[in-house]
C-alpha cells in the first residue's frame, strides 16, 4: 500500500552471501545478488569521527516495498552512492499486513 504510492527513487539492493570458498587469508569470499527496486531515503544523522580529519559519517533511513529481500550483509546503491546496511532490517505492519521494510544505512567517507 505505502510502497506502491510513495516510493519513487530507484535503488539497487546488493546482498552478500557466502560463496563457499575462501581467499588467501582464509576469509570466506562473498557471492553477491542484486535486486533493483524503488525506495525512499532520508538522512538521520551526520557527523565526523574524532581524530579522523574531515571524514564524513552519515546514517540514513531506507524504506523499501514490503517483502524486499535485504539483510545486514546488504549494500544499497542510490544515485550511484553505495550505503552499508546496519543491522537486520524490519518489516512494518499495519492491521496485521506488511506495509514496508525499514533499514538503517551508514556511509563513511566521500
Amino acid at each position: 500500500m505505502l510502497a506502491s504510492t510513495l516510493l519513487h527513487r530507484a535503488c539497487t539492493v546488493t546482498t552478500r552471501t557466502d560463496s563457499g570458498s575462501t581467499d588467501d587469508y582464509g576469509n570466506p569470499t562473498d557471492a553477491e545478488t542484486s535486486l533493483t527496486t524503488v525506495c525512499d531515503l532520508q538522512q538521520q544523522q551526520r557527523t565526523e569521527p574524532g581524530a579522523q580529519g574531515e571524514l564524513s559519517d552519515t546514517r540514513w533511513l531506507l524504506i523499501l516495498p514490503p517483502g524486499t529481500e535485504i539483510t545486514t550483509r546488504s549494500t544499497v546503491t542510490v544515485d550511484d552512492i553505495v550505503y552499508e546496511v546496519i543491522g537486520d532490517p524490519w518489516t512494518a505492519h499495519l492491521h496485521g499486513r506488511p506495509t514496508h521494510v525499514e533499514a538503517t544505512l551508514r556511509r563513511t567517507g566521500a
Binding site: D23, Q52, G53, L55, S56, D57, T108, G109, A110
Partner: protein
C-alpha cells in the same frame, strides 16, 4: 632545531619508486575521500636519543597507518604495509635537511579501522627513526 620527521618520512615515501608504484597517498591526516588507499604518518614521540647531546640526535617514534582502499581489503593493506616497511629500512641517509641514521620497525599490528563501515583494512606500523638535522 630538531628535524621534522613527519615531513621527511612522508617526502621520502612519496619519492620512493616502490611506494609510488602503489598509487597510495602519504598524508598527515585522514583524507576526506577514502575510496583510494592512503598512509597516515603521525609522530608519537621525539625524545633525545640516549648518549646524544641535548636535542641533536633525536629518537622519533612514528606511527604509519597503512589503509587499504574501499575495495582492496586485507590483501591491499598487507601488500602496502610490507612495501612501506621495506622502504623504511632503506631510509637511512641524507634527506634534504635531515640525516637519518637508523630506522627500526618496532610494532606491526593489523587492525581494521571501525570508524569506517565496513571496517577498513589497515596495518599499523610503529617505527623508531633516529635522525638529526643536516649540517648547514
Amino acid at each position: 632545531m630538531i628535524p621534522d620527521a613527519e615531513k621527511t618520512i612522508s617526502s621520502y615515501l612519496r619519492d620512493h619508486p616502490d611506494v609510488s608504484a602503489l598509487s597510495t597517498r602519504i598524508v598527515g591526516k585522514t583524507p576526506p575521500a577514502t575510496a583510494e588507499p592512503w598512509v597516515r604518518v603521525t609522530e608519537l614521540d621525539a625524545p633525545a636519543a640516549a648518549a646524544s647531546r641535548a636535542d641533536h640526535l633525536i629518537s622519533f617514534l612514528v606511527q604509519l597507518d597503512v589503509y587499504a582502499g574501499a575495495t582492496g581489503g586485507q590483501p591491499e593493506a598487507k601488500t602496502h604495509a610490507r612495501t612501506i616497511r621495506a622502504a623504511l629500512h632503506a631510509m637511512p641517509g641524507v634527506h634534504d635537511e635531515t640525516v637519518v641514521t637508523q630506522v627500526r620497525v618496532i610494532g606491526w599490528l593489523r587492525a581494521p579501522d571501525p570508524d569506517f563501515e565496513p571496517a577498513r583494512d589497515r596495518v599499523i606500523i610503529t617505527a623508531s627513526v633516529i635522525a638529526h638535522e643536516a649540517p648547514a
